[in-house]
Protein backbone atom coordinates (compact mmCIF):
# COMPACT_ATOMS: atom_id res chain seq x y z
CA UNK A 1 0.00 0.00 0.00
CA UNK A 2 1.19 3.50 -0.82
CA UNK A 3 2.21 5.56 2.17
CA UNK A 4 -0.44 8.07 3.01
CA UNK A 5 0.07 11.24 5.05
CA UNK A 6 -3.44 11.16 6.45
CA UNK A 7 -3.44 9.02 9.60
CA UNK A 8 -5.95 6.37 10.57
CA UNK A 9 -6.71 4.95 7.14
CA UNK A 10 -6.43 1.28 8.11
CA UNK A 11 -8.43 1.59 11.29
CA UNK A 12 -11.23 3.70 9.84
CA UNK A 13 -11.42 1.63 6.67
CA UNK A 14 -11.52 -1.58 8.70
CA UNK A 15 -14.22 -0.36 11.05
CA UNK A 16 -16.42 1.04 8.31
CA UNK A 17 -16.12 -2.00 6.08
CA UNK A 18 -16.94 -4.22 9.03
CA UNK A 19 -20.07 -2.26 9.81
CA UNK A 20 -21.18 -2.02 6.18
CA UNK A 21 -20.82 -5.78 6.04
CA UNK A 22 -22.64 -6.35 9.30
CA UNK A 23 -25.48 -3.89 8.85
CA UNK A 24 -26.04 -3.73 5.09
CA UNK A 25 -24.53 -6.73 3.33
CA UNK A 26 -25.35 -9.49 5.81
CA UNK A 27 -29.14 -8.93 5.88
CA UNK A 28 -29.16 -8.59 2.09
CA UNK A 29 -27.21 -11.80 1.75
CA UNK A 30 -29.61 -13.57 4.13
CA UNK A 31 -32.46 -12.32 1.97
CA UNK A 32 -30.83 -13.65 -1.18
CA UNK A 33 -30.06 -17.00 0.44
CA UNK A 34 -33.62 -17.34 1.70
CA UNK A 35 -35.07 -16.50 -1.71
CA UNK A 36 -32.60 -18.84 -3.41
CA UNK A 37 -33.71 -21.77 -1.25
CA UNK A 38 -36.83 -21.83 -3.40
CA UNK A 39 -36.65 -23.69 -6.69
CA UNK A 40 -36.72 -21.53 -9.83
CA UNK A 41 -40.26 -22.59 -10.72
CA UNK A 42 -41.56 -21.95 -7.25
CA UNK A 43 -39.75 -18.62 -7.04
CA UNK A 44 -41.22 -17.54 -10.33
CA UNK A 45 -44.73 -18.57 -9.40
CA UNK A 46 -44.53 -16.49 -6.20
CA UNK A 47 -43.07 -13.36 -7.73
CA UNK A 48 -45.32 -13.50 -10.76
CA UNK A 49 -48.56 -14.32 -8.98
CA UNK A 50 -51.37 -11.90 -9.90
CA UNK A 51 -51.48 -10.48 -6.40
CA UNK A 52 -47.72 -9.80 -6.40
CA UNK A 53 -47.80 -8.24 -9.86
CA UNK A 54 -50.73 -6.03 -8.88
CA UNK A 55 -48.76 -4.88 -5.83
CA UNK A 56 -45.70 -4.06 -7.96
CA UNK A 57 -47.86 -2.09 -10.31
CA UNK A 58 -49.53 0.04 -7.69
CA UNK A 59 -46.26 0.58 -5.82
CA UNK A 60 -44.19 1.53 -8.84
CA UNK A 61 -46.83 3.73 -10.44
CA UNK A 62 -47.57 5.57 -7.21
CA UNK A 63 -43.83 5.95 -6.54
CA UNK A 64 -43.26 7.30 -10.05
CA UNK A 65 -46.12 9.77 -9.75
CA UNK A 66 -44.95 10.87 -6.30
CA UNK A 67 -41.37 11.29 -7.54
CA UNK A 68 -42.38 13.36 -10.55
CA UNK A 69 -44.53 15.55 -8.35
CA UNK A 70 -41.70 15.97 -5.85
CA UNK A 71 -39.26 16.71 -8.64
CA UNK A 72 -41.19 19.84 -9.56
CA UNK A 73 -42.41 20.79 -6.11
CA UNK A 74 -39.08 20.02 -4.43
CA UNK A 75 -37.17 22.04 -7.02
CA UNK A 76 -39.58 24.95 -6.59
CA UNK A 77 -39.24 24.76 -2.81
CA UNK A 78 -35.44 24.62 -2.95
CA UNK A 79 -35.48 27.54 -5.41
CA UNK A 80 -37.67 29.70 -3.18
CA UNK A 81 -35.64 28.85 -0.07
CA UNK A 82 -32.30 29.76 -1.68
CA UNK A 83 -33.27 32.63 -3.96
CA UNK A 84 -35.58 34.76 -1.89
CA UNK A 85 -35.47 36.25 1.59
CA UNK A 86 -38.89 36.37 3.19
CA UNK A 87 -40.19 36.31 6.77
CA UNK A 88 -40.58 32.75 7.96
CA UNK A 89 -38.04 31.38 5.50
CA UNK A 90 -36.05 29.63 8.21
CA UNK A 91 -39.24 28.09 9.58
CA UNK A 92 -40.17 26.70 6.15
CA UNK A 93 -36.60 25.50 5.75
CA UNK A 94 -36.81 23.63 9.06
CA UNK A 95 -40.21 22.18 8.17
CA UNK A 96 -38.78 20.49 5.10
CA UNK A 97 -37.09 17.98 7.40
CA UNK A 98 -40.27 17.13 9.30
CA UNK A 99 -41.11 14.09 7.15
CA UNK A 100 -37.70 12.70 8.16
CA UNK A 101 -38.25 13.37 11.84
CA UNK A 102 -41.88 12.32 12.13
CA UNK A 103 -42.60 8.60 12.67
CA UNK A 104 -44.09 7.57 9.34
CA UNK A 105 -47.05 5.90 11.04
CA UNK A 106 -47.94 9.24 12.62
CA UNK A 107 -47.80 10.84 9.18
CA UNK A 108 -49.97 8.05 7.80
CA UNK A 109 -52.61 8.46 10.49
CA UNK A 110 -52.77 12.26 10.08
CA UNK A 111 -52.98 11.99 6.30
CA UNK A 112 -55.76 9.45 6.63
CA UNK A 113 -57.65 11.70 9.01
CA UNK A 114 -57.25 14.66 6.63
CA UNK A 115 -58.24 12.80 3.49
CA UNK A 116 -60.93 10.45 4.78
CA UNK A 117 -64.48 11.16 3.61
CA UNK A 118 -65.25 13.43 6.59
CA UNK A 119 -61.74 14.91 7.00
CA UNK A 120 -60.81 18.52 6.23
CA UNK A 121 -59.50 17.85 2.74
CA UNK A 122 -61.46 14.66 2.08
CA UNK A 123 -64.87 16.29 2.55
CA UNK A 124 -64.05 19.09 0.08
CA UNK A 125 -62.46 16.74 -2.46
CA UNK A 126 -65.40 14.35 -2.02
CA UNK A 127 -67.77 17.04 -3.27
CA UNK A 128 -65.59 17.35 -6.38
CA UNK A 129 -65.87 13.60 -6.84
CA UNK A 130 -62.25 12.85 -5.88
CA UNK A 131 -61.60 10.11 -3.33
CA UNK A 132 -58.10 10.04 -1.89
CA UNK A 133 -58.26 7.75 1.12
CA UNK A 134 -58.13 4.04 0.33
CA UNK A 135 -57.17 4.65 -3.33
CA UNK A 136 -53.82 4.67 -5.21
CA UNK A 137 -54.02 8.48 -5.03
CA UNK A 138 -53.76 8.22 -1.26
CA UNK A 139 -50.69 6.00 -1.61
CA UNK A 140 -49.14 8.59 -3.88
CA UNK A 141 -49.80 11.42 -1.42
CA UNK A 142 -48.26 9.45 1.45
CA UNK A 143 -45.19 8.79 -0.70
CA UNK A 144 -44.95 12.47 -1.66
CA UNK A 145 -44.96 13.40 1.99
CA UNK A 146 -42.24 11.05 3.12
CA UNK A 147 -39.87 11.57 0.19
CA UNK A 148 -40.06 15.36 -0.26
CA UNK A 149 -36.92 16.23 1.74
CA UNK A 150 -34.67 14.21 -0.57
CA UNK A 151 -35.07 16.47 -3.59
CA UNK A 152 -35.03 19.70 -1.60
CA UNK A 153 -31.96 18.75 0.39
CA UNK A 154 -29.93 17.55 -2.60
CA UNK A 155 -30.75 20.52 -4.84
CA UNK A 156 -30.53 23.28 -2.24
CA UNK A 157 -26.74 23.28 -1.68
CA UNK A 158 -26.05 23.21 -5.42
CA UNK A 159 -28.39 26.14 -5.99
CA UNK A 160 -26.71 28.02 -3.17
CA UNK A 161 -23.27 27.50 -4.70
CA UNK A 162 -24.33 28.51 -8.19
CA UNK A 163 -22.19 31.51 -9.17
CA UNK A 164 -24.50 34.49 -9.77
CA UNK A 165 -22.03 35.65 -12.42
CA UNK A 166 -23.14 32.73 -14.62
CA UNK A 167 -26.64 34.12 -14.80
CA UNK A 168 -25.36 37.65 -15.22
CA UNK A 169 -23.16 36.50 -18.09
CA UNK A 170 -26.10 34.73 -19.72
CA UNK A 171 -28.21 37.85 -19.31
CA UNK A 172 -25.55 40.08 -20.82
CA UNK A 173 -25.47 37.72 -23.80
CA UNK A 174 -29.18 38.35 -24.33
CA UNK A 175 -30.70 35.22 -22.77
CA UNK A 176 -34.27 35.47 -21.48
CA UNK A 177 -35.05 34.25 -17.96
CA UNK A 178 -36.58 31.03 -19.27
CA UNK A 179 -33.65 30.36 -21.63
CA UNK A 180 -31.18 30.92 -18.81
CA UNK A 181 -33.09 28.55 -16.55
CA UNK A 182 -33.31 25.88 -19.24
CA UNK A 183 -29.83 26.15 -20.72
CA UNK A 184 -27.67 27.23 -17.79
CA UNK A 185 -29.29 26.54 -14.42
CA UNK A 186 -31.13 23.29 -15.10
CA UNK A 187 -28.14 21.44 -16.64
CA UNK A 188 -26.01 22.44 -13.66
CA UNK A 189 -28.69 21.23 -11.25
CA UNK A 190 -29.37 18.02 -13.10
CA UNK A 191 -26.85 15.79 -11.27
CA UNK A 192 -28.30 16.87 -7.93
CA UNK A 193 -31.85 16.54 -9.25
CA UNK A 194 -31.07 13.02 -10.43
CA UNK A 195 -29.58 12.05 -7.09
CA UNK A 196 -32.58 13.46 -5.25
CA UNK A 197 -35.01 11.82 -7.63
CA UNK A 198 -33.46 8.39 -7.27
CA UNK A 199 -33.40 8.64 -3.47
CA UNK A 200 -36.98 9.86 -3.46
CA UNK A 201 -38.10 7.03 -5.73
CA UNK A 202 -36.22 4.41 -3.73
CA UNK A 203 -37.75 5.67 -0.52
CA UNK A 204 -41.22 5.62 -2.03
CA UNK A 205 -40.77 2.03 -3.23
CA UNK A 206 -39.93 0.89 0.26
CA UNK A 207 -42.27 3.14 2.26
CA UNK A 208 -44.55 1.22 4.59
CA UNK A 209 -45.74 3.03 7.72
CA UNK A 210 -47.17 6.14 6.15
CA UNK A 211 -48.99 4.23 3.44
CA UNK A 212 -50.74 1.34 5.12
CA UNK A 213 -53.16 3.62 7.03
CA UNK A 214 -54.29 5.60 3.99
CA UNK A 215 -54.10 2.82 1.39
CA UNK A 216 -56.99 0.66 2.50
CA UNK A 217 -54.85 -2.34 1.57
CA UNK A 218 -57.28 -4.13 -0.70
CA UNK A 219 -55.45 -6.99 -2.44
CA UNK A 220 -55.12 -6.40 -6.19
CA UNK A 221 -56.06 -2.71 -5.79
CA UNK A 222 -54.30 -0.77 -3.06
CA UNK A 223 -51.95 -3.32 -1.58
CA UNK A 224 -48.31 -2.19 -1.83
CA UNK A 225 -45.43 -4.63 -2.19
CA UNK A 226 -43.95 -3.83 1.24
CA UNK A 227 -47.27 -4.74 2.84
CA UNK A 228 -47.48 -7.98 0.87
CA UNK A 229 -44.07 -8.94 2.21
CA UNK A 230 -45.25 -8.14 5.71
CA UNK A 231 -48.36 -10.28 5.25
CA UNK A 232 -46.23 -13.23 4.10
CA UNK A 233 -44.02 -12.79 7.16
CA UNK A 234 -47.07 -12.81 9.42
CA UNK A 235 -48.01 -16.08 7.78
CA UNK A 236 -44.51 -17.44 8.60
CA UNK A 237 -43.95 -17.88 4.85
CA UNK A 238 -40.40 -16.50 5.02
CA UNK A 239 -39.39 -17.85 1.62
CA UNK A 240 -42.24 -16.12 -0.20
CA UNK A 241 -41.53 -12.92 1.72
CA UNK A 242 -37.86 -13.11 0.71
CA UNK A 243 -38.77 -13.82 -2.91
CA UNK A 244 -41.02 -10.78 -3.19
CA UNK A 245 -38.49 -8.65 -1.29
CA UNK A 246 -35.80 -9.72 -3.76
CA UNK A 247 -37.86 -8.15 -6.56
CA UNK A 248 -37.87 -4.82 -4.72
CA UNK A 249 -34.16 -5.20 -4.08
CA UNK A 250 -33.35 -5.87 -7.74
CA UNK A 251 -35.54 -2.96 -8.83
CA UNK A 252 -33.69 -0.65 -6.43
CA UNK A 253 -30.30 -1.86 -7.71
CA UNK A 254 -31.22 -1.44 -11.36
CA UNK A 255 -32.61 2.00 -10.72
CA UNK A 256 -29.53 3.13 -8.78
CA UNK A 257 -27.30 1.83 -11.57
CA UNK A 258 -29.27 3.76 -14.17
CA UNK A 259 -29.25 7.00 -12.20
CA UNK A 260 -25.54 6.65 -11.50
CA UNK A 261 -24.90 6.28 -15.19
CA UNK A 262 -27.10 9.28 -15.96
CA UNK A 263 -25.31 11.31 -13.31
CA UNK A 264 -21.93 10.43 -14.74
CA UNK A 265 -23.16 11.57 -18.14
CA UNK A 266 -24.48 14.85 -16.72
CA UNK A 267 -21.11 15.43 -15.05
CA UNK A 268 -19.01 14.65 -18.13
CA UNK A 269 -17.73 18.23 -18.19
CA UNK A 270 -15.93 17.84 -14.87
CA UNK A 271 -13.61 15.17 -16.27
CA UNK A 272 -10.15 16.65 -16.75
CA UNK A 273 -8.79 16.01 -20.21
Amino acid sequence: MKRNVLPGLRLSLGVTLFYVGLIVLLPLAALAVKAASLGPAEYWSIVSSPRSVASYRVTVLAALAATVFNLFFGLALAWVLTRYRFPGRRLVDAMVDLPFALPTAVAGISLTALFSANGWFGSVLGQLGITVAYTPLGIMIAMCFTSLPFIVRTVQPVLEDLDPALEEAAQSLGGSDWTIFRKVILPLLSPALLAGTSLSFARSLGEFGAIIFIAGNQPMKTEITALLIFIRLEEYDYQAAAAIASVLLITAFVMLAITNWMQARALRYTVKG
Binding site: D163, E168, A169, L173, G175
Partner: protein
Protein backbone atom coordinates in the same frame (compact mmCIF):
# COMPACT_ATOMS: atom_id res chain seq x y z
CA UNK B 1 -20.45 53.95 -29.36
CA UNK B 2 -19.95 57.00 -27.18
CA UNK B 3 -20.86 56.57 -23.52
CA UNK B 4 -21.77 59.31 -21.12
CA UNK B 5 -22.39 59.05 -17.40
CA UNK B 6 -24.23 62.00 -15.96
CA UNK B 7 -24.11 62.41 -12.19
CA UNK B 8 -24.61 58.71 -11.51
CA UNK B 9 -25.31 57.65 -7.92
CA UNK B 10 -25.48 54.20 -6.33
CA UNK B 11 -26.27 53.32 -2.73
CA UNK B 12 -26.21 49.84 -1.20
CA UNK B 13 -28.42 49.77 1.89
CA UNK B 14 -26.85 52.66 3.76
CA UNK B 15 -23.49 52.68 2.04
CA UNK B 16 -23.08 55.10 -0.82
CA UNK B 17 -20.80 53.32 -3.31
CA UNK B 18 -20.86 55.93 -6.07
CA UNK B 19 -21.28 59.66 -5.47
CA UNK B 20 -22.47 61.58 -8.53
CA UNK B 21 -19.93 60.39 -11.09
CA UNK B 22 -19.90 62.07 -14.50
CA UNK B 23 -17.72 60.69 -17.23
CA UNK B 24 -17.53 60.74 -21.01
CA UNK B 25 -16.01 57.97 -23.04
CA UNK B 26 -15.39 58.53 -26.71
CA UNK B 27 -16.28 55.98 -29.32
CA UNK B 28 -13.45 53.47 -29.74
CA UNK B 29 -11.63 54.59 -26.62
CA UNK B 30 -10.00 52.17 -24.18
CA UNK B 31 -10.54 53.49 -20.67
CA UNK B 32 -9.36 52.11 -17.33
CA UNK B 33 -11.26 52.68 -14.11
CA UNK B 34 -8.52 52.52 -11.52
CA UNK B 35 -8.91 52.60 -7.77
CA UNK B 36 -8.41 50.70 -4.53
CA UNK B 37 -11.10 48.28 -3.35
CA UNK B 38 -14.21 50.09 -2.25
CA UNK B 39 -13.63 52.96 -4.66
CA UNK B 40 -16.81 52.14 -6.60
CA UNK B 41 -15.07 51.19 -9.85
CA UNK B 42 -16.79 47.84 -10.27
CA UNK B 43 -20.15 49.31 -9.32
CA UNK B 44 -19.76 51.94 -12.05
CA UNK B 45 -18.87 49.26 -14.59
CA UNK B 46 -21.86 47.14 -13.55
CA UNK B 47 -24.16 50.13 -13.88
CA UNK B 48 -22.89 50.78 -17.40
CA UNK B 49 -23.60 47.11 -18.14
CA UNK B 50 -27.05 47.20 -16.57
CA UNK B 51 -26.16 44.57 -13.97
CA UNK B 52 -26.91 47.21 -11.32
CA UNK B 53 -29.43 49.99 -11.65
CA UNK B 54 -28.32 53.54 -10.88
CA UNK B 55 -30.19 55.19 -8.00
CA UNK B 56 -29.74 58.59 -9.59
CA UNK B 57 -28.35 60.18 -12.72
CA UNK B 58 -28.30 58.93 -16.30
CA UNK B 59 -26.21 56.73 -18.52
CA UNK B 60 -26.25 57.46 -22.24
CA UNK B 61 -25.19 55.14 -25.04
CA UNK B 62 -24.71 57.57 -27.92
CA UNK B 63 -27.80 59.79 -27.71
CA UNK B 64 -29.97 57.10 -26.20
CA UNK B 65 -30.73 57.14 -22.49
CA UNK B 66 -29.78 53.60 -21.48
CA UNK B 67 -30.25 54.08 -17.72
CA UNK B 68 -33.28 51.79 -17.48
CA UNK B 69 -32.56 49.39 -20.35
CA UNK B 70 -32.13 45.88 -18.92
CA UNK B 71 -28.76 44.22 -19.43
CA UNK B 72 -30.02 41.70 -21.98
CA UNK B 73 -31.15 44.49 -24.32
CA UNK B 74 -28.27 46.85 -23.71
CA UNK B 75 -25.87 45.28 -26.17
CA UNK B 76 -22.82 45.13 -23.93
CA UNK B 77 -20.18 42.45 -23.72
CA UNK B 78 -19.18 41.76 -20.14
CA UNK B 79 -16.09 39.84 -19.06
CA UNK B 80 -16.03 38.70 -15.44
CA UNK B 81 -13.01 38.43 -13.17
CA UNK B 82 -13.57 34.72 -12.62
CA UNK B 83 -14.57 34.12 -16.27
CA UNK B 84 -18.14 32.92 -15.50
CA UNK B 85 -17.93 30.39 -18.31
CA UNK B 86 -20.77 27.87 -18.43
CA UNK B 87 -19.01 24.77 -17.06
CA UNK B 88 -21.33 22.26 -18.75
CA UNK B 89 -20.81 23.70 -22.23
CA UNK B 90 -17.78 23.25 -24.44
CA UNK B 91 -15.65 26.23 -25.38
CA UNK B 92 -17.45 26.44 -28.74
CA UNK B 93 -20.88 26.22 -27.10
CA UNK B 94 -19.89 28.93 -24.66
CA UNK B 95 -18.83 31.25 -27.45
CA UNK B 96 -21.94 30.43 -29.47
CA UNK B 97 -24.33 30.89 -26.53
CA UNK B 98 -25.17 34.54 -27.23
CA UNK B 99 -25.88 33.80 -30.87
CA UNK B 100 -27.99 30.74 -30.12
CA UNK B 101 -30.28 32.59 -27.71
CA UNK B 102 -30.47 35.77 -29.78
CA UNK B 103 -33.75 37.05 -31.21
CA UNK B 104 -31.92 37.27 -34.52
CA UNK B 105 -32.09 33.69 -35.74
CA UNK B 106 -28.92 32.23 -37.18
CA UNK B 107 -28.44 28.82 -38.72
CA UNK B 108 -26.20 26.26 -37.03
CA UNK B 109 -23.64 26.64 -39.81
CA UNK B 110 -23.56 30.42 -39.43
CA UNK B 111 -22.98 30.12 -35.70
CA UNK B 112 -20.26 27.50 -36.22
CA UNK B 113 -18.50 29.72 -38.76
CA UNK B 114 -18.58 32.72 -36.43
CA UNK B 115 -17.37 30.60 -33.49
CA UNK B 116 -14.45 29.36 -35.60
CA UNK B 117 -13.60 32.92 -36.54
CA UNK B 118 -13.69 34.03 -32.90
CA UNK B 119 -11.60 31.06 -31.78
CA UNK B 120 -9.02 32.18 -34.30
CA UNK B 121 -9.19 35.77 -33.06
CA UNK B 122 -8.48 34.67 -29.50
CA UNK B 123 -5.89 32.14 -30.75
CA UNK B 124 -7.63 29.07 -29.38
CA UNK B 125 -8.15 27.13 -32.61
CA UNK B 126 -8.59 23.45 -31.90
CA UNK B 127 -9.83 23.91 -28.33
CA UNK B 128 -13.49 24.30 -29.28
CA UNK B 129 -14.43 20.85 -27.99
CA UNK B 130 -12.84 21.21 -24.57
CA UNK B 131 -14.79 22.04 -21.47
CA UNK B 132 -13.80 25.13 -19.45
CA UNK B 133 -12.51 22.87 -16.67
CA UNK B 134 -9.98 21.40 -19.07
CA UNK B 135 -8.17 24.60 -20.10
CA UNK B 136 -5.91 27.06 -18.26
CA UNK B 137 -6.99 30.28 -16.61
CA UNK B 138 -5.55 32.46 -19.36
CA UNK B 139 -7.32 30.39 -22.00
CA UNK B 140 -10.57 30.62 -20.06
CA UNK B 141 -10.37 34.38 -19.96
CA UNK B 142 -9.80 34.45 -23.72
CA UNK B 143 -12.86 32.25 -24.20
CA UNK B 144 -14.83 34.66 -22.01
CA UNK B 145 -13.69 37.53 -24.22
CA UNK B 146 -14.63 35.65 -27.40
CA UNK B 147 -18.04 34.87 -25.91
CA UNK B 148 -18.60 38.54 -25.11
CA UNK B 149 -17.48 39.62 -28.59
CA UNK B 150 -19.72 37.05 -30.30
CA UNK B 151 -22.84 39.16 -29.79
CA UNK B 152 -21.25 42.19 -31.52
CA UNK B 153 -21.52 44.39 -28.44
CA UNK B 154 -21.58 48.16 -28.71
CA UNK B 155 -19.38 48.35 -25.64
CA UNK B 156 -16.95 45.89 -24.08
CA UNK B 157 -16.76 45.92 -20.29
CA UNK B 158 -14.11 44.00 -18.36
CA UNK B 159 -14.17 43.59 -14.60
CA UNK B 160 -10.63 42.97 -13.30
CA UNK B 161 -10.10 40.74 -16.32
CA UNK B 162 -6.60 39.61 -15.40
CA UNK B 163 -6.99 39.68 -11.64
CA UNK B 164 -7.11 35.92 -11.19
CA UNK B 165 -4.13 35.12 -13.43
CA UNK B 166 -0.40 34.58 -12.93
CA UNK B 167 1.87 37.57 -13.47
CA UNK B 168 3.35 36.20 -16.71
CA UNK B 169 0.02 35.30 -18.27
CA UNK B 170 -1.35 38.64 -17.16
CA UNK B 171 1.42 40.48 -18.95
CA UNK B 172 0.86 38.60 -22.22
CA UNK B 173 -2.91 38.95 -22.13
CA UNK B 174 -2.59 42.68 -21.55
CA UNK B 175 -0.60 43.21 -24.73
CA UNK B 176 -2.92 40.91 -26.58
CA UNK B 177 -6.07 42.73 -25.41
CA UNK B 178 -4.52 45.95 -26.64
CA UNK B 179 -3.98 44.37 -30.07
CA UNK B 180 -7.56 43.09 -30.24
CA UNK B 181 -8.83 46.51 -29.30
CA UNK B 182 -6.75 48.07 -32.03
CA UNK B 183 -8.11 45.56 -34.52
CA UNK B 184 -11.81 45.87 -33.59
CA UNK B 185 -11.92 49.48 -32.38
CA UNK B 186 -14.70 48.70 -29.94
CA UNK B 187 -15.33 51.10 -27.05
CA UNK B 188 -13.88 49.37 -24.01
CA UNK B 189 -13.96 50.08 -20.29
CA UNK B 190 -12.03 47.94 -17.85
CA UNK B 191 -11.73 47.96 -14.12
CA UNK B 192 -8.49 47.29 -12.29
CA UNK B 193 -6.77 47.98 -9.02
CA UNK B 194 -3.39 47.39 -10.66
CA UNK B 195 -1.92 50.75 -11.69
CA UNK B 196 0.65 49.13 -13.97
CA UNK B 197 -2.11 47.35 -15.87
CA UNK B 198 -4.11 50.55 -16.25
CA UNK B 199 -1.12 52.56 -17.45
CA UNK B 200 0.01 49.79 -19.79
CA UNK B 201 -3.28 49.28 -21.51
CA UNK B 202 -5.51 52.30 -21.42
CA UNK B 203 -5.83 55.40 -23.62
CA UNK B 204 -7.20 57.15 -20.61
CA UNK B 205 -7.07 56.37 -16.91
CA UNK B 206 -9.86 57.39 -14.55
CA UNK B 207 -8.71 57.27 -10.93
CA UNK B 208 -11.39 56.76 -8.31
CA UNK B 209 -11.47 57.10 -4.56
CA UNK B 210 -14.45 56.46 -2.29
CA UNK B 211 -16.99 56.65 -5.09
CA UNK B 212 -15.67 59.80 -6.70
CA UNK B 213 -13.39 60.54 -9.64
CA UNK B 214 -10.16 62.04 -8.35
CA UNK B 215 -8.36 62.52 -11.62
CA UNK B 216 -8.57 61.40 -15.21
CA UNK B 217 -6.28 61.71 -18.17
CA UNK B 218 -3.82 59.92 -20.39
CA UNK B 219 -1.27 57.71 -18.62
CA UNK B 220 1.30 60.40 -19.32
CA UNK B 221 -0.82 63.16 -17.83
CA UNK B 222 -1.67 61.31 -14.61
CA UNK B 223 1.89 60.07 -14.12
CA UNK B 224 3.60 63.37 -14.78
CA UNK B 225 1.11 65.59 -13.10
CA UNK B 226 -0.74 63.76 -10.31
CA UNK B 227 -3.32 66.02 -8.80
CA UNK B 228 -2.80 65.09 -5.19
CA UNK B 229 -0.91 62.85 -2.79
CA UNK B 230 -3.50 60.04 -3.13
CA UNK B 231 -3.07 59.77 -6.90
CA UNK B 232 0.69 60.00 -6.63
CA UNK B 233 0.94 57.25 -4.02
CA UNK B 234 -1.61 55.06 -5.76
CA UNK B 235 0.28 55.16 -9.06
CA UNK B 236 3.48 53.78 -7.58
CA UNK B 237 5.96 53.58 -4.70
CA UNK B 238 6.86 56.98 -3.35
CA UNK B 239 8.87 58.33 -0.44
CA UNK B 240 7.29 61.03 1.62
CA UNK B 241 9.20 63.77 3.41
CA UNK B 242 7.77 66.71 5.23
CA UNK B 243 9.47 70.04 4.74
CA UNK B 244 8.90 73.63 3.94
CA UNK B 245 8.53 75.69 0.79
CA UNK B 246 10.10 79.08 0.56
CA UNK B 247 10.25 81.07 -2.63
CA UNK B 248 9.60 78.14 -4.98
CA UNK B 249 12.15 75.82 -3.33
CA UNK B 250 11.18 72.96 -1.06
CA UNK B 251 13.54 72.04 1.74
CA UNK B 252 13.56 68.92 3.88
CA UNK B 253 16.34 68.03 6.29
CA UNK B 254 19.17 69.39 4.18
CA UNK B 255 17.80 68.34 0.79
CA UNK B 256 16.43 70.94 -1.54
CA UNK B 257 14.31 70.66 -4.65
CA UNK B 258 12.43 72.99 -7.01
CA UNK B 259 8.74 73.44 -6.21
CA UNK B 260 7.41 75.88 -8.78
CA UNK B 261 3.97 77.27 -8.07
CA UNK B 262 3.68 75.91 -4.53
CA UNK B 263 2.73 78.47 -1.88
CA UNK B 264 5.19 79.15 0.91
CA UNK B 265 4.65 77.13 4.08
CA UNK B 266 4.76 73.52 5.27
CA UNK B 267 4.68 70.97 2.45
CA UNK B 268 4.79 67.26 1.62
CA UNK B 269 7.57 66.18 -0.68
CA UNK B 270 7.12 62.95 -2.67
CA UNK B 271 9.93 61.25 -4.55
CA UNK B 272 9.94 57.96 -6.50
CA UNK B 273 12.66 55.43 -5.57
CA UNK B 274 14.59 56.34 -8.72
CA UNK B 275 14.50 60.05 -7.90
CA UNK B 276 16.64 59.61 -4.79
CA UNK B 277 20.32 58.85 -4.67
CA UNK B 278 22.98 58.09 -2.07
CA UNK B 279 26.04 60.14 -1.40
CA UNK B 280 28.64 60.25 1.36
CA UNK B 281 28.76 64.03 1.24
CA UNK B 282 25.83 66.41 1.56
CA UNK B 283 23.78 68.24 0.89
CA UNK B 284 20.94 65.84 1.51
CA UNK B 285 18.89 64.11 4.15
CA UNK B 286 21.28 62.55 6.61
CA UNK B 287 20.47 58.84 6.94
CA UNK B 288 21.80 55.36 7.74
CA UNK B 289 21.41 52.37 5.42
CA UNK B 290 19.43 49.61 7.15
CA UNK B 291 19.13 47.08 4.35
CA UNK B 292 20.08 46.52 0.73
CA UNK B 293 17.82 44.34 -1.43
CA UNK B 294 19.31 43.00 -4.63
CA UNK B 295 17.07 42.89 -7.66
CA UNK B 296 17.80 41.90 -11.24
CA UNK B 297 18.05 45.46 -12.59
CA UNK B 298 19.03 47.50 -9.55
CA UNK B 299 19.75 47.52 -5.85
CA UNK B 300 16.99 48.75 -3.58
CA UNK B 301 18.35 50.59 -0.56
CA UNK B 302 16.31 51.07 2.59
CA UNK B 303 17.62 53.84 4.77
CA UNK B 304 16.29 55.53 7.86
CA UNK B 305 16.63 59.27 8.03
CA UNK B 306 17.81 61.06 11.14
CA UNK B 307 14.29 62.48 11.42
CA UNK B 308 12.87 58.94 11.62
CA UNK B 309 11.41 58.61 8.10
CA UNK B 310 12.18 55.42 6.20
CA UNK B 311 13.35 56.06 2.64
CA UNK B 312 13.55 53.54 -0.17
CA UNK B 313 15.51 54.16 -3.31
CA UNK B 314 17.25 52.37 -6.15
CA UNK B 315 20.92 52.56 -7.12
CA UNK B 316 22.82 51.00 -10.02
CA UNK B 317 23.66 47.32 -9.65
CA UNK B 318 27.42 48.02 -9.53
CA UNK B 319 27.25 50.40 -6.59
CA UNK B 320 29.01 49.23 -3.44
CA UNK B 321 26.77 49.97 -0.51
CA UNK B 322 26.17 48.08 2.70
CA UNK B 323 23.90 48.12 5.71
CA UNK B 324 25.16 50.37 8.50
CA UNK B 325 26.71 52.92 6.14
CA UNK B 326 25.98 56.54 7.06
CA UNK B 327 25.61 59.26 4.47
CA UNK B 328 23.11 61.48 2.71
CA UNK B 329 20.05 60.80 0.59
CA UNK B 330 19.98 63.31 -2.24
CA UNK B 331 16.91 64.44 -4.11
CA UNK B 332 17.04 64.50 -7.91
CA UNK B 333 13.41 65.28 -8.54
CA UNK B 334 10.26 65.44 -6.44
CA UNK B 335 6.62 66.42 -6.42
CA UNK B 336 5.65 68.94 -3.77
CA UNK B 337 2.17 69.52 -2.36
CA UNK B 338 1.45 72.27 0.13
CA UNK B 339 0.19 70.94 3.47
CA UNK B 340 -3.03 72.69 4.29
Amino acid sequence: MKIRLDNVIKTFDTFRAVHGVSLEIESGELVALLGPSGSGKTTILRMVAGLEYADGGHIYFGDQDATDIPVRDRGVGFVFQHYALFPHMTVAENIGFGMSVSKVKRSKAEIAARVAQLLKLVRLEGLGDRFPGQISGGQRQRVALARALAVDPKVLLLDEPFGALDANVRHDLRRWLREIHQELGITTIFVTHDQEEALDLADRVVILKEGRIVQQGTPQAVCRDPKDAFVLKFLGDANRLTGEVRGGRAMAGGAEVAAPGVADGPAEIFARPRDLDWSLQGPGVSATVTRVLDRPGERRVIASAASGEVLEFDVEPEREIAAGEAGFVTLRRAKVFALS
